[in-house]
Subunit: 284 residues, 2 copies
């Protein structure tokens, strides 16, 4: 589907993060089933939904540093309420807090510091010591065939139908129960309906690939306990090069560190999450 | 000073993070001047002070994932009030929120997920793919001579008198205005009065060395905007091997990623902070 066709119906990401003000800092939304892994909504999607309410409240447009703690599983195809409070509102940065609840039970709490990445002059100290993900050309990266086929953990993931992911084949060992042991998951990513990336979508996209820990230990359910996202620049249109790594797996707890580089070669988003490998949930 | 001598008077870290309950989730404390850089309290110290109130409230002992947003500069040698609320209290994890204010103005807001690292069985999936900081032996690392001499940014740092830091000499280029350009700051660290590290002190120690960005751009004032800390294990007594790196410096904004390894070779603490290089403050 081209970007134009997508726009006619509204893009999936925008439709599924739409929130309506309910007054006094409260917003209503629906946790869509379209971004789930098995019965569980993706953590990045849930945070993007909460951030939609934050962005409706803030005077500055771009999330720059977002920290989210996931308290309990949330339910998809189910409404939610997001409560937003401004903690501090300044000229260059504003900090807000969001609480996402379903049926009166809080599922996610986040603190977000926003700024205006479009207002940066480029005149400040700059040094890029990193390198973009070392990915084969797009044509050599197999396209993920979507969510109809179960993942190695037995779960069917609807989120795979929302994304166009071209995996680095060397990180796909998990699909055949032969992980490389490097703790690496990387590939080219864009939204399948042609919606271009922006700073709102990066909050989702930094949690969009299968867990990098699958490249060490295959299977299991890897719920996010905490997710930190740093956004450095508004991404250019086109494919994003994404690299996620798990280096320290200890007694089931792990980190996943991520970088997203845009089509102009800019490191636009860095993430660090804290998660735990659990046995897969009993049913989908 | 030996650990025993320190204990007789009480250790500095414990004295300076002592908080008293004021009722209804409120705690009183004092932001000590002993952990400052120029006029500004160290971010890790301020978070450790807020976490002291969290630990007094939580039913689980160890911070596992802590996210803090720094809202405004705080004042040292000045009282503070910390308000703590329990967000969720579960069997293996509890999440709490802390707000640190001075003179009724909030300076720091944090969300912390705690657990019991002593209760982990070691039976869960484990793989350490990282390597400890590549440090010369202790005897080859110069000892920081303390805070009387100003840093390259013109600030006198009292925190240097609280720590015993033995720098990797290859990362000390900043002291002679000749940074290596690698964005690396590393060394052996312990508290100077002999207090052994624990999960409370790691929250401070993950922000205790000069900014790694000084190994790229010397000088300036580098306030922390956001600090995320993941704690994986209770540290063994002895020296800690600490490595902090800045890889992406863009228009004055930067990340600092850290790892702390204990004397038993365990990666006990991982951190990621978001900060900004500013011109030095005009006066100390």
């Amino acid at each position: 589907m081209s970007a134009l066709e997508g726009a006619a119906d509204g893009f999936e990401f925008d439709a599924d993060t739409a929130v309506e003000p309910l007054g006094r800092g409260r917003f209503g939304g629906v946790v869509s089933p379209r971004w789930s892994i098995g019965p569980y909504p993706n953590g990045g999607y849930l945070l993007a939904l909460a951030m939609a309410a934050v962005r409706r409240t803030a005077t500055l447009p771009d999330p720059m540093a977002v920290s989210a703690h996931f308290l309990r599983p949330s339910e998809h195809a189910h409404p939610c309420e997001i409560e937003v409070a401004t903690v501090r509102s300044g000229r260059s940065h504003a900090t807000l807090e969001a609480r996402l609840a379903q049926d009166g039970v809080e599922r996610l709490r986040a603190i977000a510091t926003l700024g205006d990445l479009g207002a940066l002059t480029g005149g400040g100290p700059t040094a890029e010591l990193g390198t973009p993900p070392d990915l084969p050309p797009l044509a050599s990266c197999p396209r993920d065939r979507g969510g109809a086929r179960a993942l190695p953990n037995g779960l069917v993931a609807a989120i795979r139908d929302r994304l166009d992911v071209r995996f680095d084949p060397s990180t796909l060992g998990f699909a055949n129960a032969s992980p490389s042991g490097r703790g690496l998951m990387q590939g080219w990513v864009r939204l399948r309906d042609g919606r271009e990336p922006d700073t709102a979508a990066l909050v989702l996209l930094c949690d969009c690939l299968p867990p990098a820990v699958f490249d060490i230990v295959v299977g299991g359910w890897v719920p996010t306990l905490e997710l930190t996202v740093h956004i450095r620049a508004r991404p250019s249109p086109g494919w994003l090069a994404c690299r996620f790594t798990t280096t320290h797996l200890r007694d089931g707890y792990l980190e996943e560190a991520g970088e997203i580089w845009d089509s102009a070669g800019v490191m636009v988003c860095q993430s660090l999450q804290f998660a735990r490998v659990n046995p897969p949930p009993s049913s989908g």
